[in-house]
């Protein structure tokens, strides 16, 4: 990333980022307010951002609050992740039609308009890196994902204000973006000034940055942002000790505590739906009434359903205990065996959006205590 631009963009010039991206033909997606939360949707200007809003998060609880300053990225994370754009919740990928006694199968995949994300958090960059590993290449590569991913422009936003359920610092995925972005912003407030320290991560990012009114960042500016991010890493609401976690969790496979968690777990699947790395899908076939046309669809699925592990004769994870254990151990242990990386990025969504507030960091800490 050496030799790429680092610049200061004033708040008043921020709309230029939108304008520059639009001029390049991007559909812009980013944070916006809806139904008492910050969600990700297609947006077109600074006014669409959750200006002056922040969020308070705890296990099973999320509340939007007015912030004391007019920040553009003063919120932490909402219930949605970027997978809604890159790996949509429902997606038709095959069209099949009957032709006499034969039938024809055609791909339903289409080229996509280039998309630009604004407001990708460092933990979410890691989630994208995981998706690239899982869906972008190799055995499970998904054409739909590749088509969307290859044209993606990423504007990351560093976290100077972590939330109550955040634990990226302990997962080593944040609060500062270290790669995987075209531009990375740090939103700064300094004696009445409101500006963005803007770092280009790619040539393309630099090209866009040059379209925006900016001035070169001085050492003082860079140090101020570093300091704000250092403080942020100390303000994480949660932490998860990942030292030897794979082996530690394997040793707790038969721990009676799984049973206790299953008393609270509703197997509703919310944690998997909000998780930015959960990639499991179900494949469904639909037909027209006359049987002439058929479609094959992919829908987000969850390891918390009974049918998920259905093989001939029955489900292999009939109990809640086995399903919760599968999910948590996949994130922390099996994922490492499978993909050589952790499946959790420390975003805390599964904690906040679990309707009964089951906390993966708390459960992991419990197992670690038992392990000693």
């Amino acid at each position: 990333m050496k030799n790429l631009m680092i610049a200061i963009v004033e708040r008043k010039d921020f709309q230029s980022l939108f304008d520059a991206l639009k001029k390049k033909g991007y559909q812009i997606s980013g944070p916006t307010l809806r139904d008492n939360a910050v969600i990700y949707d297609n947006i077109s200007s600074v006014e669409d951002l959750p200006v002056g809003w922040t969020d308070k998060q705890d296990a099973g609880r999320y509340r939007l609050e007015k912030s004391d300053r007019a920040s553009l990225f003063g919120y932490v994370l909402g219930p949605q992740s970027w997978k809604k754009f890159l790996y949509p919740a429902e997606h038709t990928f095959l069209n099949i039609s009957r032709n006499g006694k034969r039938f024809e199968v055609g791909s339903a995949e289409e080229e996509q308009q280039p998309q630009a994300f604004i407001g990708v958090r460092p933990c979410e960059l890691q989630a994208l890196a995981i998706y690239d590993r899982v869906l972008g290449e190799g055995e499970f590569a998904a054409t739909s994902y590749q088509l969307r991913r290859k044209k993606l422009f990423i504007t990351a936003v560093n976290c100077i204000q972590p939330g109550g359920t955040c634990f990226c610092a302990s997962m080593k995925t944040g609060p500062k973006a270290t790669g995987g972005f075209d531009l990375a912003l740090t939103e700064m407030f300094d004696s009445g000034r409101h500006y963005f320290l803007t770092e280009a991560g790619t040539k393309l990012g630099e090209e866009v940055l040059k379209q925006i009114p900016n001035r070169e960042a001085g050492e003082k500016d860079i140090l101020a942002a570093e300091e704000a991010l250092r403080k942020a890493s100390e303000k994480m609401g949660r932490r998860l000790d990942i030292k030897d976690i794979k082996e530690m969790m394997y040793r707790r496979f038969d721990d009676p505590h799984w049973e206790e968690i299953s008393q609270r777990c509703m197997t509703c699947g919310n944690c998997t739906m909000v998780c930015p790395t959960c990639f499991c899908v179900n494949v469904e076939d639909t037909t027209s009434l006359d049987g002439r046309e058929a479609q094959r669809l992919r829908k987000w699925d969850s390891c918390f359903t009974v049918d998920f592990s259905y093989i001939h004769g029955g489900s292999i994870r009939a109990t809640t205990t086995s399903r919760y254990r599968q999910w948590m151990m996949h994130k922390l242990s099996y994922w490492q065996d499978q993909f050589g990386m952790l499946g959790c990025v420390g975003c805390g969504r599964c904690i906040t959006w679990c309707p009964v507030g089951i906390d993966i960091t708390e459960e992991a800490a419990y197992f670690r205590k038992e392990d000693k």
Partner: protein, 259 residues
């Protein structure tokens, strides 16, 4: 499917409001295609022309509440190749199953001028308590697209895509914000079967549980969370006592909070 004989369809009504069978007529855009694909032989809501059985498919709406109906359902089973129950009345006893928590004789004397003419059972029960049911379609009312899906799957010899998992899964797929987490609104979504398209949470309301208990529902955990949201014990009883009050997981939970 065009070369085979059209399957004969019958629609039957027991104690119910007719809303579910009307879902079939509600399939306006698809109705002609359905009439092309199946032979509607017995559907008094749609036509006076009633043909005798046997039938390939019987859609049964309503619950069993009288001795007469308890007999009648056996006759229908005998003349039906496939029997599919539709709606909360047929699958769980319906809203009228609220009587099951009280003594029905107390109601009869209050409601009717001549109670001696009333012959009723003391409980409203689902069809599956009486005869073998091939497939249950949930909801109050059922979702017409799910009804179409079942008919479609049957016609094309495939498994219907009617998932038994939670409302939360379709709610999240739709991109809704969780009303319970973000607004503190009690919601039955985590213990209720999907199928409605997460209708109520899409309008910022908690789920009423119209589609009944999902697979492996943990009502104990959800009710405990309702208490944390300051829902009173009386209200928890009411929340679980809706259209699917007599479905076992909901029934047990409401009874636990009644004491």
């Amino acid at each position: 499917m065009t070369t085979t004989k059209k399957p004969k369809l019958a629609v039957w009504k027991f104690a119910s409001c007719d809303g579910c069978q009307l879902s079939l007529l509600d399939c306006e855009d698809e109705l002609l295609a359905i009439a092309e694909a199946v032979h509607i032989a017995n559907f008094p809501e749609a036509s006076r022309a009633v043909e005798k059985g046997p039938y390939d498919v019987s859609l049964v709406e309503g619950s069993i509440t009288t001795p007469h109906d308890a007999e009648r359902i056996h006759k229908i089973r005998r003349i039906s190749k496939y029997l599919i129950t539709i709606g909360a009345c047929a699958t769980a006893g319906g809203i009228q199953a609220l009587r099951n928590f009280k003594d029905v004789n107390d109601f009869i004397s209050i409601v009717y001028a001549h109670p001696e003419y009333i012959e009723t059972l003391n409980k409203s029960t689902p069809i599956a308590d009486h005869v073998f049911v091939d497939f249950e379609l949930r909801g109050c009312p059922i979702n017409k697209y799910q009804l179409l899906e079942v008919v479609n799957a049957l016609l094309n010899g495939r498994k219907p895509n009617i998932p038994p998992y939670s409302v939360c899964i379709e709610c999240k797929r739709k991109g809704n914000v969780c009303v319970m987490v973000a607004s503190g609104t009690p919601c039955l979504g985590p213990v209720t079967q999907a199928g409605c398209g997460a209708l109520c949470p899409s309008y910022n309301r908690g789920c009423f549980g119209c589609f009944g208990p999902k697979e492996t529902p943990n009502t104990v955990s959800l009710a405990a969370q309702f208490e944390k949201l300051d829902v009173t014990r009386d209200d928890i009883v009411r929340i679980f006592r809706g259209f699917n009050a007599f479905a076992e997981p909901f029934r047990k939970e409401s009874e636990a909070y009644e004491k």
